[in-house]
């Protein structure tokens, strides 16, 4: 039997989340959770009565602020979901999951926290009354598929779950979610690779919003969640000039890693593997179309964002790159934070220099950690994140000869001789 390619060390990308009113910014890298208070201009020290530092014991995979900004959730490979109050930055609820957690979402009113485990189950926790330890109830399930993203629709009617089997499921969020969500509104089908991220665009003429999804097939698609209809497909990698429209240089080389709506949903920032910068898409809600508005490149620095964040209406996009641990590098928990400001339909967006960043040097110290490393380390980090993502989400393909030999080595066949 051919030896399998050596398994790379599992790494997690650095994550960023911005408070909806830009009161604070959080970065998670590895098991570190770093929060900076932008109003006070100082680092936040988190407190958790029942746990010692670090609060998470393994890679954090998902962080998010609630829509009203009162709650913050962090979860990951240590099978723990922690709900924090953003006023005191103390942990108000800690939930144990049976499996590793891959995505989280908070309902608009802040009553329910949903999280997805690596086996495709979505769980729901009731935060009312806010007890320290809560037992989650199963809400819905994708049959044995890793759920990559969870999102509530802006009107709160639906919970959306995206998975590595190219699927987005739109489920009615019931009045009593603890009994499970049985009514499926639609499936958004059309992606030809794993779906990595979801985001909503809203406009006056369309208050329920349109759904955007990014995928390993290098496209961003626009959907009507009520019917599951595909409205438009934007081949972002081709449009941004990363690949020729006919040339399939490297498959999966330009997977969309994150989506973030900026400026009240008029523009959508897209992070793509291997792109040192971001793509800004504009969404025409009435015509139901997507088009590339701008490509913003990071001049003078190798920076491939692993996660995006923004607070609506500020016109600022926060980006982070980094990785939990990098083989051959002495600095674990690498992270680098950058901001693009002036994102507007007319203006030209500007990449903010480190001295002009909101929160200044203190913020960078808090969120990035102290290690100073050169650009190439961050490129290596982005590459490690990409490899880890491919391993996790892309189905392994075996040539047929290889498959036969694997079959021969099956235990039940060996016994028969």
């Amino acid at each position: 039997m051919d030896s399998e390619p050596k398994k790379d060390i599992e790494v997690a990308p650095a994550l960023i989340a911005v408070h909806p009113y830009q009161c604070s910014v959080a970065v998670a890298v590895g098991h570190h959770l770093r929060v900076f208070d932008l109003l006070a201009g100082s680092a936040v020290s988190l407190t958790d009565d029942s746990a010692a530092v670090p609060f998470h014991t393994d890679n954090i995979r998902a962080i998010r602020f609630g829509a009203k900004g009162k709650l913050f959730v962090s979860a990951g490979d240590d099978k723990t979901v922690k709900v924090w109050s953003t006023e005191s930055w103390s942990c108000i609820t800690s939930v144990s999951s049976e499996k590793r957690v891959s995505a989280v979402a908070i309902s608009d009113d802040g009553t329910y926290v949903c999280f997805a485990d690596k086996f495709g189950l979505v769980w729901v926790v009731d935060l009312d009354p806010p007890l320290r330890d809560k037992k989650p109830s199963p809400l819905l399930s994708h049959y044995c598929s890793i759920i990559t993203s969870l999102e509530f629709s802006p009107d709160g009617r639906f919970i959306l779950s995206a998975d590595r089997d190219f699927k987005i499921r739109v489920t009615c969020f019931p009045e009593k979610p603890l009994n499970g969500a049985h009514q499926i509104q639609s499936f958004c089908l059309g992606h030809t690779e794993f779906v990595s991220c979801l985001a909503f665009v809203q406009a006056l003429e369309c208050p329920q919003g349109l759904l955007l999804s990014g995928s390993g097939d290098s496209t961003v698609r626009l959907w009507n969640v009520d019917s599951g209809a595909l409205l438009d497909t934007c081949e972002v990698a081709i449009k941004a000039g990363l690949v020729e429209s006919d040339g399939k240089a490297e498959e999966h080389d330009h997977a969309v890693t994150d989506l973030c709506t900026v400026l009240d949903g008029l523009l959508v920032a897209v992070a793509i593997q291997s792109l040192q910068g971001i793509i800004l898409l504009s969404c025409n809600v009435s015509a139901k179309t997507l088009s590339v508005a701008k490509v913003v490149l990071m001049a003078g620095e190798a920076f491939v964002p692993t996660c995006l964040g923004s607070s609506p209406s500020t016109g600022k996009l926060w980006m982070v790159t980094g990785v939990s641990n990098l083989p051959g590098c002495n600095y674990p928990a690498l992270a680098r934070v950058r901001v693009i400001s002036g994102i507007d339909v007319e203006q030209e967006p500007v990449v903010v220099g480190d001295d002009n960043i909101p929160g200044g040097e203190k913020l960078l110290e808090t969120l990035q950690g102290n290690a100073s490393v050169d650009d190439n380390t961050f490129l290596a980090a982005a590459e490690a994140v990409k490899t880890a993502m491919d391993h996790l989400l892309i189905k392994k393909q075996y040539p047929s000869a290889n498959r036969e030999s694997r079959k021969k080595c099956r235990n039940d066949r060996k016994l028969k001789g």
Partner: protein, 255 residues
């Protein structure tokens, strides 16, 4: 295939494929990653491939017609063949995970089509993992009947999540079934029979058919008699446990 050519896998007397050339393991792991092509969405299912006489080429002809019956885990296709003549106007499809068994059913259908011109045009089979890809083949409320006949019992508690009837998968079945659509399940394993029944009873979008309705439904009789597994059970004088439920609108929902 020309008639002079001798194909050992086809029986000379009946023209049907011979089962011994299509032996397959009785079980297949539904959790494993699949390496067969999967339809991207229901609109990508090529009806002209499945029902060539009814859909001459894709996008043409009677394009409004959709598949209405799905036999999940159709095995060697006994039920489909019986249903095909009972409901000649309805399109139906069998879904089977095991490659060889699917090949057998394909052969069986095409030989039946040759032997009985004009018949069996409404039946087809697809190799897929229906536990993962049901929504890739059928749209919302598209099906009027779904069949789960003699599914793998998966006795171990650890493997219960591999059962084809489970509380969460019922959500997906409820999605593809029209309101009033019927789900038929039968097994010869009492433990599994109880499991399937309780899953369906506890689901807000299904209600049991009454005795009278079961009597009146011609399909119910086929559950035992038409399938290979059912015949085997009958031969051995075994017991069967069936649960037949209707898709309803949940009581707390108006739409």
């Amino acid at each position: 295939m020309s008639e002079t050519e001798v194909n050992p896998t086809i029986s000379k007397s009946t023209g049907l494929p011979r089962k011994r050339f299509y032996r397959a393991r009785a079980h297949s792991n539904p959790l494993s990653d699949s390496h067969f092509p999967v339809s991207i969405s229901p609109s990508h299912v090529d009806y002209s491939l499945h029902y060539p006489q009814l859909f001459l080429s894709s996008g043409q002809a009677d394009s409004s017609k959709r598949i209405q019956f799905a036999d999940v885990g159709c095995g060697f296709g006994g039920l489909l063949i019986s249903l095909s003549t009972l409901f000649p106007e309805t399109l139906m499809i069998g879904m089977e995970l095991r490659d060889k068994v699917t090949e057998y059913v394909k052969e069986r259908i095409s030989s039946l089509r040759v032997a009985n011109p004009g018949q069996y045009q409404n039946v087809s089979v697809v190799r897929t993992n229906s536990m993962k890809y049901i929504p890739n083949y059928f749209g919302k409320g598209q099906l009027s009947k779904m069949f789960f006949l003699f599914p793998d019992p998966h006795f171990k508690e650890k493997n219960h999540r591999r059962r084809v009837i489970s509380p969460f998968l019922l959500d997906e079945y409820a999605y593809v079934l029209e309101v009033g659509g019927i789900i038929y399940t039968i097994t010869d394993v009492e433990e599994l029979g109880d499991w399937m029944k309780s899953c369906l009873e506890n689901h807000p979008m299904f209600e049991a058919l009454t005795e009278k309705e079961l009597e009146a439904d011609p399909v119910v009789k086929l559950l035992c008699s038409a399938t290979e597994e059912g015949q085997k059970v009958a031969r051995n004088g075994g017991q069967t446990f069936q649960a037949v439920f209707r898709r309803i609108v949940p009581s707390n929902q108006t739409s």
